[in-house]
């Protein structure tokens, strides 16, 4: 077992969270703005190709869950799905592919939100 993998996952994942916290505290962004900004950053970083792999993929190889758990990986997955479908079906794939990889996360969100809404009465 590579114990350094745990350390890097902890440090990289933590560093992404520090950036998010700074965006809330220093830049005074709302939590919603912070989240969407980090998704866009993840998508952009995934678009930067170094050799045959994108920068975000290399970060995942290096830090594992430290890069896949934070919200930035959602941006990464959006771009991945779109590019994958683009290669198979051309331009229309950019539209159909966006939710290709992320569908599990989005479907889970909808299903669990539904269950929570059925069981609980939020008062806000």
């Amino acid at each position: 077992m590579d114990w350094m993998q745990f350390l890097w996952a902890f440090l990289v994942g933590g560093a992404i969270c520090v950036i998010g916290q700074l965006m809330i505290d220093v830049l005074k962004l709302t939590p919603a703005h912070t989240m969407t900004a980090l998704v866009v950053v993840g998508a952009i970083v995934d678009g930067i190709m170094i050799g045959k792999k994108s920068l975000y993929d290399r970060l995942i190889e290096f830090a594992g869950a430290g890069a896949t758990v934070p919200i930035t990986s959602f941006g990464n997955a959006l771009v991945h799905g779109a590019l994958q479908e683009y290669k198979l079906h051309g331009w229309i794939g950019l539209i159909t592919g966006i939710f290709e990889v992320t569908s599990a996360g989005i479907s889970a969100t909808i299903i669990f939100s539904f269950i929570a809404a059925v069981l609980f009465r939020p008062k806000g």
């Binding site: 809330i24 505290d25 939020p122 008062k123 806000g124």
Partner: protein
């Protein structure tokens, strides 16, 4: 009657014949917990929405204040009230239950003293023998309307304040026993360009200082005329700014005791309230519960309560506009020979 530019000096000072305060669990645990008439252990008050709970706080405070004055609601001719919710529904709906002729007012958290000043004017002018002033706020309704739904669990910066869950009401009479309202200063809207709704204290401090200066100037008095001057809900951040502004403007505030209701209602070291308390009920329950009890006990003779309000709406700050603020001051005396 009118003294200076913006102060009413009451020739027939109305008497605060009774008050009532109702609070939630966090306020009950605070240092002033014993001074409130009713402490609820349940934030919902057995209601199915936070809005209904807030309304119930107001209804209970108003009913109890009338009872304490040994009156019936028919004898209280006018009820002046307001709160923080859109279209001031808590007070309007409570007034529906009370069925007392109602004047709805909005001054954000300054509503406590705005309503007291107006009710005093009504009684002092002879327009009614009895009038009631009241206001309320609820932590969860304020969070929902001005910040985020509580279930969302959003982080708060240390400058944020904790909205007081509670309601306060005072019955004013032309004659009777109790502390009297001698003067009231209606504040101007002051806007120093602050846009952060999580730092209301800093936004409101200049308004409080402006109104206190106007009050002292209009009546030709110094701060030591009062045993105590309290602002409504500046909390730790705004209180510090206010003290600095007094020094800068040459107001000798150190001659008297100056404090803030937002710092008095909670134990800031032990309770999770960030910079301190806020909300309409903050100054209302501290003034009607704690301060007036101390006046009746003879510990305080003259006080000035300066309730501060941030006149923002969720829409105005989402559109990036700054926060206009206001403060209204009411002078209360007890056991002072005229």
């Amino acid at each position: 009657m009118l003294a200076g530019h913006q102060t009413w000096k009451f020739v027939n000072p109305p008497v605060i014949v009774s008050t009532a305060t109702v609070v939630g669990p966090e306020e009950g645990k605070g240092p002033l917990g014993d001074h409130f008439d009713i402490v609820h252990e349940d934030m919902t008050l057995g209601q199915d929405s936070w809005e209904k709970a807030e309304r119930k706080l107001m209804e209970e405070a108003a009913t109890l204040a009338i009872e304490n004055a040994k009156l019936t609601k028919e004898r209280v001719k006018f009820f002046v009230g307001g709160d923080l919710l859109n279209q001031i529904i808590s007070n309007s709906f409570a007034a529906r239950t009370l069925s007392i002729p109602y004047i709805g007012v909005f001054g954000a958290c300054s509503t406590s003293m705005e309503s007291l000043a107006l009710a005093s004017l009504i009684v002092s002018s002879g327009a009614a023998d009895y009038a009631m002033a009241g206001t309320c706020s609820h932590n969860c309704t304020a969070e929902k309307q001005f910040r985020y739904p509580t279930e969302y669990g959003s982080q708060k910066p240390p400058t944020a304040q904790y909205t007081v869950t509670g309601a306060g009401a005072a019955v004013l009479a032309r004659e009777g026993d109790g502390p009297v309202v001698t003067a009231a200063t209606i504040g101007r809207v002051v806007d120093m360009g602050i846009t952060d709704p999580f730092n209301m204290g800093a936004a409101m401090a200049p308004a409080a200082v402006d109104t206190i200066q106007a009050h002292l100037r209009d009546l030709g008095i110094e701060p030591d005329h009062y045993d105590l001057i309290v602002t409504g809900d500046l909390a730790s951040v705004g209180y510090k700014i206010a003290v600095e502004l007094f020094a800068k403007h040459g107001v000798p505030i150190r001659k008297t005791r100056y404090y803030d209701c937002g710092l008095m209602i909670y134990d800031l070291d032990k309770q999770p309230v960030q910079a301190g308390g806020s909300g309409c009920a903050c100054s209302a329950v501290v003034a009607y519960g704690h301060l007036l009890k101390r006046m009746r006990a003879g510990e305080l003779k003259r006080i000035l309560v300066v309730a501060t309000g941030a006149l923002l709406s969720p829409l105005s700050y989402q559109q990036g506009e700054s926060i206009p603020c206001i403060a209204h001051a009411v002078a209360i005396e007890s056991g002072v020979d005229a």
